[in-house]
Every structure is written in structure tokens, then in C-alpha cells.
Amino acid sequence: MTEYSNRSQYPQARADGSLDIDLTSGKYLKLWQGPNHPGITGNMSVELTVCGDEVVEGKTHVGYLHRGFEKLMERRTFIQCFPIVCRICVPEPDFNEYCYAAAVEELAGIEVPEKADWIRTLILEMGRINSYLMYLGGQAGAFGLGVIGQWTTYARDLMLDRFEELTGARIYHMFIMPGGVRDDLPEGFDQRMEETLQEIESTLQDVYDTMFRNAVFKKRAVGLGYVDPAWVDEYGITGPVARGAGVAKDVRRDQPYLVYDRLDFEPVIATESDTYARADVRRRDLLMSVDLIRQILARMPRQGEVMATLPNVLHWKIPRGETYVRGECSRGEYGYYLVTDGSGYPRRVNVRGPSYTHAMTLLEKLIVNVNISNVAGLMVSLHTYPPEIER
């Protein structure tokens, strides 16, 4: 924390602890970061109050991509909700598909074929790799390392090819639906996936050499955005942000879903709890996903159905009930709270994305005393996607 020990004497705290910021004093300036797309953080803006080049206060503003998904779903039948949920999170849409499907299946009492669970797990890990690849490019880019983003985009594109051949689409896969998954693995998928995984590993080695073993990156990332492990529960911190703080929180291990209880892995953690540590947790988590995909393809059953028999979806009613289904996405805990009322439509859907806590209260806390030039790097280090805040 030495970097910031030399902080400005402004603003001074009032007796009640609040900050005494007088914008007319000439000491302070309001500065908006966003709402243009400031890299990987999406369409959100941070209203900064700066004193010199130091942030004294930050407020997160979202709503630039609000489409009201939760409300839209109340007007759609259970099957009609399936194609829209993926849009809540562009880089890693599959968690929406999975959590929604699992919640519906739970309340409707639908048993999903085992093979579908394996394919779902495969897809979620593929999505995690893509999300991390995008993150790495964004994190490096925020500190001026533009080439990393080009490499990770290439690697991600290879994985999108795998998504395309498996699901029939590159970005919004619409493949995990209530009842199972749409289709089996295509012929020769394992072989092509292995080639892709090797290419990703090779790219990651380059990323490691040029980003993680880079004096510039270290200089800026180390010590930036320190998260005290004690805040984890207080601020609802999950995923790599918590694991970077040494808290081995990983839903895959804590409450195994799908087939995670049949895979061998340990949550990746770091203890430094700064931007560098979080980036490294994600890099290693990505490599773990590569390993998990290999395990899945080696262990999954190759026979059997991938889709349960659904009731006629046009008149599908689900009895009154409520449940919460969570999964560990690349950014932390992703969950769907689904309430049904016996009709053919959801009564209420609430999407719990990790960014909701990370980009709001946590970011607003961490951003104080940060140098303006590091704001983008800090935001990216929380790996937030605003659409899951405003939904």
C-alpha cells in the first residue's frame, strides 16, 4: 500500500465521517469514465470526483443496457424464456441458460439425462475459458499491453469455432434448454477440441511471458485494488476476487452441481488480493478449465439421451414454488431465483450476477485514492459485466 501512502490531504473528513467535497473550491473535478465501452467492463460509467489525479470518490452508474429481462420473462412461457436469457451476459451466456434451465427443471420435476449434465458442464467450462480470455486481453489492455488482447481474441475465436459446431451458434448458443441440451457432440469433436486446447495453452504461455512476467504490468497491477479477506462476506464477494484474497470460495467445490463431483480439481487461490493476484488466479483457473474439459471428454458417457421428454411446451404450467440455483461462473456466483405460481409463465425471475456486488459497492470502495490512470485497470480487475447488474 506504500504507493498510495503519499495521498493528498484532500478531501478532509467532516466530524460525522463524511467527506467535505466542495466542487466550487477549485480543488475538485468531476470526471466521467464511461458510459462508452471502456474496454472489457461494458457499458457502465463511473462518476469520479478527483483531486489532482487522485480519485476521492466514485459512483457507479448503470442502466445503459437495461432491457428488463426479468420483466420480459414474466410475459413469456417457460420455453420462450429460454432464448432470451443468454443475452444477459454476452461473454459467458451459458450460465444463464444453465441456471434458468436447472431452476425450471427443479420446480417442474424434470429429470435431466446424465449425458446432458456432462455436456452442460463441458459448455460451461468452454464458456469460462472464453470469458477469461476476454478478461486477460482487457486487463492487459487497460495497462497498455494491446497485443495480449489480439492473442486472446484469436484463442477465443478457436473456442467459438468449437461452440459453433457443437451448439450451432458462436455467441448466443441457445443450446442448454430446460430438459437437457439440444444435441449430442458432433463427430470428431474431441479431436478438434484437443487441438483448440493445445493452441490455447500455447497462447497462455505467451500471455504469461509477456503479461505476467512483465515489469510494466507488475508495476501497475501489484498492490492495486487490495481486497481485505474480511470484506468477502460483508460485500458479497465471490469468484476470483474472493479467491485472490485467499478465500477458496468456488461453488463447483462447495456445492457441486452437474458433474463437478466427478471431476478432479481444487479451487485456485492467491493471497496477495490485488489486481495482479486476481489476474493470476484467472489465468490458472483458465488452465484448470482446459484440464477439466479433458477430464470431461475422457469420462463422459457416449451413449444415451441428451434431452428429457418435456410436456407440450405451448401449455406448460409449473406448480407454485420458488428456488434458487447457482453456479460458479468466471466472475463468481451466478444464480437464478425463480418463483412460479402454477401458471404457464414465471411469476418472478431474479438474476443474481457477481457484478451486482463487485461493480457497485465494492468498486465504489476500492476506487477511492486510486490514480485516474489506474481506474480502468481496477475496474477490469473486478471482471464485471454491467448487463447482469441492470438486466
Binding site: 437495461h66 428488463g68 410475459r75 427443479e106 460485500y235 458479497g236 420458488e322 457497485m360
Partner: protein
């Protein structure tokens, strides 16, 4: 979970217990018991993580349901605490002192459902919507389709036919019987 409920049922006057799955249950609590219950769960039972706070509009029953979902990582279990509020002038005590992040949830509930949380930081600031003057949009009586019709122009040239009606017009226009 059953033992937890058995222990807390009496002291906190819990009702409507539902064990949704082995690691998730729901209970309903009265307004005055909410804060003591949440504190107890957080500090003594290990439910340290506030997963979410949201509302359900049971408009037919004229009330809102607030759901406080708490997670106990050590025992890998969740409890959903329901609280029923009258819909009219809905207002609830803030819990931002228990979890700072609750302020964001409460701000959203204020905006989307019109449920007030006096004392919650920035609760009256616009969160997702800007300059919204209509009904709080996540209330059941806000009609999104009607809103869309009023707010946006339909693309010209769209029309459709009902198969049965079209067949009647084509095959038996006078409603005639038999073939």
C-alpha cells in the same frame, strides 16, 4: 436444515417452512423479527453471505414478498427468508448496516417495485432508470406490452392470419355446415 428450523421456529415465529432441496429452505418471518433473525443467522448460524435481496409482487394477494437469501458456506446451505409487506405504500427497514451491499438491492427495489427503505444510502437516487415517471416497472400491474406499443413504433407491413379463421373464409365463408 430441519434442526435449524426446529430451533428457530419458536423464537422467531417462523412460518411456511419449505425444504426446497436438501441445501435450500424457505421460511416466512414477521417484520419485527426480520432483523433479529438475520443477525442470528449471520452471527450465530454461519449464514454470512447475503446472496440476494429481491421482491415478488403477489398483486392478487395485495402484498409484496421480500426474499432475503443467505448462504452458509461452511455447511454449504442456503436459507431464503420471506417477508410479506402490504402493497400499499410499501416500506421496509433497511439492512445496509448488516451488509453494505444491501443498499444496492434496496435502491433497485425502490426504483423497480416502489418499495421504500428509509435510511438506506442513496435509496432515492436513480439506479437503472433515468427520469422514470411511470409505475415502478417491475410491479405486476405495469404492462410492458402496452408500454412498448406506446413508446415504440411498429414496423410497417406486419400482418398475420389465424389459420382456422382463414380456412373458414376460404372454405366455408357463410359458416355453412358439412363438407
Amino acid at each position: 436444515m430441519e434442526t435449524l428450523y426446529a430451533r428457530l421456529k419458536e423464537p422467531f415465529g417462523l412460518t411456511d417452512w419449505v425444504l426446497q432441496k436438501p441445501d435450500l429452505c424457505f421460511v416466512t418471518v414477521a417484520r419485527e423479527q426480520l432483523r433479529p433473525l438475520l443477525l442470528h443467522l449471520r452471527d450465530l448460524e454461519g449464514f454470512t453471505h447475503l446472496v440476494l435481496l429481491t421482491a415478488v409482487d403477489w398483486i392478487e394477494e395485495d402484498r409484496f414478498q421480500l426474499t432475503y437469501l443467505l448462504h452458509d458456506r461452511a455447511k454449504a446451505r442456503d436459507i431464503g427468508v420471506r417477508l410479506m409487506l402490504p402493497r400499499e405504500d410499501a416500506s421496509m427497514d433497511s439492512i445496509h448496516e448488516l451488509w453494505p451491499t444491501a443498499a444496492t438491492y434496496q435502491r433497485e427495489l425502490r426504483e423497480m417495485f416502489g418499495i421504500d427503505f428509509p435510511g438506506s444510502p442513496r435509496v432515492n437516487e436513480d439506479f437503472i432508470l433515468e427520469g422514470w415517471a411511470d409505475l415502478p416497472p417491475y410491479r405486476r400491474d405495469f404492462d410492458t406490452l402496452q408500454y412498448a406499443h406506446e413508446a415504440y413504433a411498429e414496423r410497417a407491413g406486419r400482418e398475420t392470419r389465424d389459420p382456422a379463421r382463414h380456412m373458414k373464409e376460404q372454405l366455408y365463408p357463410d359458416g355453412g355446415q358439412d363438407d
